[in-house]
Amino acid sequence: MAESIPKIRILKGAAPDLSAATFQIHDESHTIGNALRWMVMKNPKVEFCGYSAPHPSEPHINVRIQMYDNLSSLDALIEALNNLDDLCATIDDAYTVSLRKDKYEIWEEKS
């Protein structure tokens, strides 16, 4: 079928060495956009990172990354994704531990 839309495209105008590029991520929204932007910005080698959802009826976001020292923005993106995954795993573990070990109020709610 129409399964030809790539998950990520690099938009026109990126630096040849990818030190500055805009990644268009298909079928994603502010959910990933803002979280990813935050994690990319945590990288000290990143000069700028921002994202936008160009139009509400288009199912994609644009993530712009500009690097210092001509480093690759694609590497920074992948690193941020790895870190974000670590973060999620940490939250998951901590939540499970709290659910199992902490004392909390249990109450009955009428529906």
């Binding site: 929204s29 959910t31 999620c88 709290s98």
Partner: protein, 363 residues
Amino acid sequence: MAFQASTSSQSLYDRRRHVRVDAERARDVSSTDFPGYYPDEDHSWNLEKFKERFRVKVTRISNRSIEFDLVGVDASIANAFRRILIAEVPTVCIENVYVHNNTSVMVDEVFAHRLGMIPLNVDPALMDMRDSTGQATDRNTLVFRLNVTCTRNKSAPKDATDPAVLYHNAEVLSSHLKWEPAGEQESVFEGKPPAPTNPNIVLVKLRPGQEVDMEMHAVKGVGKDHAKFSPVATASYRTLPLIVLNPRKPVPPHLATKFQKCFLPGVIDVDPLTQKVCVNEENMRKETMSREVLRHPEFEGCVELKRVRDYFLFNIESEGAYAPEYLFPESIKVMRDKIATIRKAALALLSESQGGGGDVEMV
């Protein structure tokens, strides 16, 4: 216990974590923990440092809802989970309705819409999402039948006026939905046959001679496609309120009660002997931040209202198949799936750019 003292812990008074709440506006809303924001400070991502500051604490669970604290993450992360809970955690709902007969007062499409809204008790993990071909199989579709006819109750007392007494099946209820197993479903759903979570939802009212006869197909979907697929009634967070009294300008004793009344009951304690005012650390989180105290000129400078930017009080109400405590882990799972998909695409892009001698496909 360490958690008991959580709200009074000294780190809460770290000014960098504060959003200032003024009478007319909020200040210092954005987080500043980025590399390069403060000179000579390292704010780059460090998982170990994150783990030190990060904390989750479940505070309250009921059969339908859960409350927990998520401390030490950025709003963008907390918001991602909130958004995923509402729009991207899958559930199973009635999607197609085939009407064989409907002589009720409700038109077919309105009735079909109502049927779609019924929360079902089906664990979404047991079903597949329908693929792009839309082909129904026993792995992705559940079939329900609804066949109800209203008749007169011949044995009703002469003076009865209640339709429930006068007629049989005066109301079509969600409990009238009958699941029809297909293929391997009988064994897959053994022990917990698919049905509405609430058997008492009134779908339509009937009178003698009226009949509904329909077949329904339930499929797996997500809330961003249609709100009926959302597994939560609400999923929300607020940041922890922080009330800071100014030690250099204490509240005058004769105004202590008035000061106390500016906040939610229990938030401010007044010493009965000295009329000295202090904040109840335990109840401070309940404050609604009405900012009433800022309206009175006599309290100017006595108190600062703040919120802790990275201290989230989550409240999730489950509606449907998930037990409330499983919703949040489910949202994390969805988030990690999303990350994995993007990561795979990014790695493919990387190998493409390296394989092609630094030549990247430009679109």
